[in-house]
Amino acid sequence: MAATDNPILRVDGLQMRFGGLTALDNVSFTAGEGEVTAVIGPNGAGKTTLFNCITGMYRASAGRVSFAGQDISGFAPHRVARAGMARTFQNLALFPGLNVRDNLLVGAYRHGASGLIEGAVLGPRARREQAAAEDRAAEILEFLGIPELAEAMPGELPYGRQKQVEFGRVLMQDARMILLDEPMAGMSRPEKTLMVALIRNVRHRYGVSFLVVEHDMPVIMDISDHIVVLDFGRKIADGPPAKVQQDPAVIAAYLGSEEAGQAVFAGAA
């Protein structure tokens, strides 16, 4: 299996406890370079907690995370980002006071080095970085098909558009791996189709690896190379979509009964 041959992300025995509650219990898996790895599971299975532990938002109680050959366990979020991992958030995290272009420009932060003062006195490095980031933002807005929205404020846009803007900011980071936390949640069917196309496009053109949490089963079965299934903080299955889909433990955990589960997964097959 490719995921184990060439892993970009290796999660090893990750554990997260909140007081008496064990949100993640000894979770281990790998995600292959250039692949789309999905993390699925019922509500409260620990998917977002897993994301937060990997990206440094939470400090795991135990376990290790290594990314692109580097041990990033215990890294603060900004260091994880600088290591080349980008993420989106379940409930959208844009900067409401900044227009769409500026939202994207923040994504270029890690490529620059100029400071507050350099910007204040229009230092050459600050201007160079600004120009480079602006060009890149224009390219990405073009790529997303929304160049006309550069000046718009995020609050004026429909939800699906805002998700695209957030995706655009993540693309600005030029990350090796992108973590998407429910990228399709709250989207209409055509918006979902578009998002799937975007993910595919980015992955195939630039070899970016994805780790995706998503509830839409047909979409997951469609785009993933590899699926990790969580239930009550434990990993209960791990493998290619076809195999996971058949797994009786997954079906039972997911829907309480094997028959009901099969009905849901049938839509994806």
Partner: protein, 375 residues
Amino acid sequence: MTSVSTSRTAMPIDEFAPSAPARQKAAARPLRWLWLAVAAAVLVYLPFVLHDRAILGYRLSNIQLLNVGLAQLNLTLIAVLGAVSLNYLTGCAGLVSIGHAAFFAVGAMAAAATGAQLGLPFLVSLVAALIAGAAAGVLAGLPSLRVRGLYFVLSTMALHFIVVFAFSEYQYAAFDVFGISYPQPAIGPFALDSALKWYFFLLPIVVLCCLACNYSLKHREGRALLAVRDNEQAASSSGIDVRVLRLKAFAFSSAIASLAGALQAYYLTTVSTELYSLNLAISFIAMIIIGGMGSIAGGVVGALVWLLLPSVLTGFAGELGAAGGGLAKIFVEHRPQVVNLIFGSLVAVLLIFAPGGIVGAARKLTKLVRPGAEA
């Protein structure tokens, strides 16, 4: 991935695309320069009008000059520095501080130590104030690493009292109870010995500081500051070290406030510890709320309103009183109270009907009048 190549064959999503109004930025350029030229001409001519109490040879009455004098305008310019720097910290970096008067005190102390005690040149003591302010700012920002919200605000208040205490100890030890006296400031052979000279010294400093704040917000780290204010999680997952950036913002803002404090001390020639009250700190907060949070213009407008409006109102109240009538007696006998009442009501009305401050309200208006135009 290294770059997203510009493929014109973007995603097939035109079905969603709203037709955005075409922007005529290029057409707006010459008009912009014209406005700038007019503003510059007014700023240069204004002090002469106030100095001569006349415009183009025509004498103006006090009320025609809105009861404003040149000395007041100079103090307003200094207050603009305070308001703009606080707006940078509070409106742009999202850190509410009631320690801003303390940075004025730090600047005055740095100027006293270098200018009054060591006898160093005026400009050197201004630089000393900048450095002392930045250092004090980093110290003041340290609690932001651990506490937030109201607790952080309280930590800035603690800073205020510590600095004021240090100021009075320093004042009594090195000077006397009447205050610290500053030497005559001079730049080389040019002494700043009149309000008019001060105006032309202060104006470029204020303009440059406003431009610096504005430019920094339009580049990498300044924009990151706005991002941190809007969404800390998203900012940190974009690679921004929120804690270090906040300290930098604090240093930047307090350096400017401290410079303003040194300028104020020199301008007033004598300052005493009572000047740096909590009232002063809160008045800076009032300025940025009135003017508008999060924009440089908001700080400028807020300082202008806060420092000049009471005097304008006093002038009109005096006129009304002189004109006689029923209300006249009240105006004459209770002028300060009446002015405070009107001023307070104005601020309250502004807060209720224009929570974005004067600048926010003006932007809304321009959007209404010219939809599609950039406010």
